[in-house]
């Protein structure tokens, strides 16, 4: 009888699986990802290495010495344990983060627009006191530009009524506002001394969310050639809410990570963060195999650093307010070992 190994489900719940069951999960997940994304599955060697990681009984795991990567960390400076500057100092001095991020709990560019000078002052002060690079981050959150929160009609109400033209017109209007706000805020933070900016969960509201951000990236890049611009995606597939939006002739709806990276590179992004959402009913081994399969093609075309997102609920890290260390560390090691990515 095979030994049962403690492991995690996608929601963080601990279960026990045999080595054979883990092997099967990895294989099935990779094959499903390959079928959906039309990419090759993980090789036999890669699946075997993944199995070794997830079949280990260790409470914690790590990459090999010398394989460490750059961590671009969102959420470091935002008044969780102290002031935002104290939190940034904690991230730098105690947590060993490589790239820090100043952010506000109202984590969207639309909201930050209304308090920009306050955030600029914090950034200017923080830059005097810290050594590690500090970027400013927020989310595009295109849906905030629709009624009742914004000026545009609510396309999620128009679409069920069959008013596709009206929904597309509303998305077009919202994108203009969103791009303007993103350019205004990121430009303001760079003027205040930020080392870079971060567009987090891009594409969360679909292809319009993605396009409005790409437009902002292009404008920011043109004005600030040396600024770091990080763009982290919301999911592995760009949802075609509008359906007909294009970036330089390429339709954005339906793009998987490799194609997402290609348009981001063309727009002027410096750091690209693919994201693959967790399936909570599947094991973490299943989830990481799926994630690796759809992200791996990025590495063949990457001209810029690729930092897969390893926050809660993405790329093999459980959906849990306190992601278990055994699961999160396995995801990190798997991504670095197999993708040879540039960061996390």
């Amino acid at each position: 009888m095979e030994a049962r190994i403690p492991t995690r489900m996608g929601d963080g719940f601990m279960v026990e699986m045999t080595r054979s069951e883990l092997r099967a999960d990895i294989q099935v997940a990779s094959e499903e990802a390959a079928r959906r994304a039309r990419v090759p599955p993980l090789t036999a060697d890669e699946q075997a290495h993944l199995l070794d990681i997830y079949a280990s009984p260790a409470a914690f795991t790590a990459v090999d010495i010398g394989d460490q990567v750059v961590l671009s960390c969102d959420g470091g400076g935002s008044k969780m344990t102290g002031t935002d500057i104290q939190d940034l100092l904690e991230s730098e001095q105690r947590l060993g983060q490589d790239i820090l991020e100043l952010w506000h709990i109202e984590y969207s560019y639309k909201a930050i627009k209304t308090i920009l000078p306050f955030q600029q002052q914090v950034m200017q002060n923080a830059q005097l006191m810290l050594t590690a690079p500090i970027q400013y981050g927020a989310q595009p959150n295109l849906a905030f530009y629709s009624k009742p929160d914004g000026p545009a009609s609510n396309w999620f109400e128009l679409l069920p009524k069959g008013d596709i033209a009206g929904a597309r017109a509303a998305i077009d209007e919202a994108m203009e506002h969103a791009t303007q706000d993103m350019v205004y805020v990121t430009g303001g933070m760079i003027e205040a001394g930020a080392d870079g900016v971060d567009f987090d969960t891009t594409g969360g509201a679909g292809d319009g969310d993605f396009l409005s951000t790409l437009r902002a990236v292009k404008r920011v890049r043109e004005k600030y050639p040396e600024a770091g611009i990080e763009l982290g995606m919301a999911g592995e597939l760009v949802i075609g809410v509008h359906g007909e939006l294009e970036w330089e002739g390429r339709r954005l709806a339906g793009l998987w990570p490799r194609e997402q990276l290609e348009v981001c590179q063309d727009a002027g992004v410096t750091l690209f963060g693919p994201a693959v959402n967790i399936r909570t009913s599947k094991s973490c081994a299943w989830n990481i195999a799926y994630s690796l399969t759809v992200i791996k093609p990025c590495m063949e075309v990457a001209r810029i650093p690729v930092h897969p997102n390893v926050g809660e609920g993405v790329c093999g890290v459980p959906v849990n307010g306190y992601p278990p260390e055994d699961a999160a560390s396995r995801a990190a090691k798997a991504l670095v070992d197999i993708l040879r990515c540039d960061g996390l």
């Binding site: 790590a62 010398g66 050594t131």
Partner: protein, 108 residues
Amino acid sequence: MDVTHALAAGMGGMRTAGDLVARMQMSRGMRLKEAKDYVAGKLGCTVRDLSDSYAMEQIRGEKGLGRILDHSNLHPGEPNAMMAKFRIAELLGIRINSVDKFRDLAGL
């Protein structure tokens, strides 16, 4: 979770050369290997040294690049924060936005 990823896979920020390698990724879009090779060349150390807190603590101290400060490791009189960033910009041959702003606003 931040601690988890830092221990599992992170370079270590200012404990090592993580912040320096990160700057090459941010400002020049360098892939990891290229960024590590570049920084190692500028520091005069091996690539493996870049993730070694023992080696980097000494190198950072010698070159005035800023070090982690705690009750057992205090370095008054040594560059840190903005002072260290001036040195980092010069060493790496990059522009650091906050350094330029400081210089402009301080009238230097």
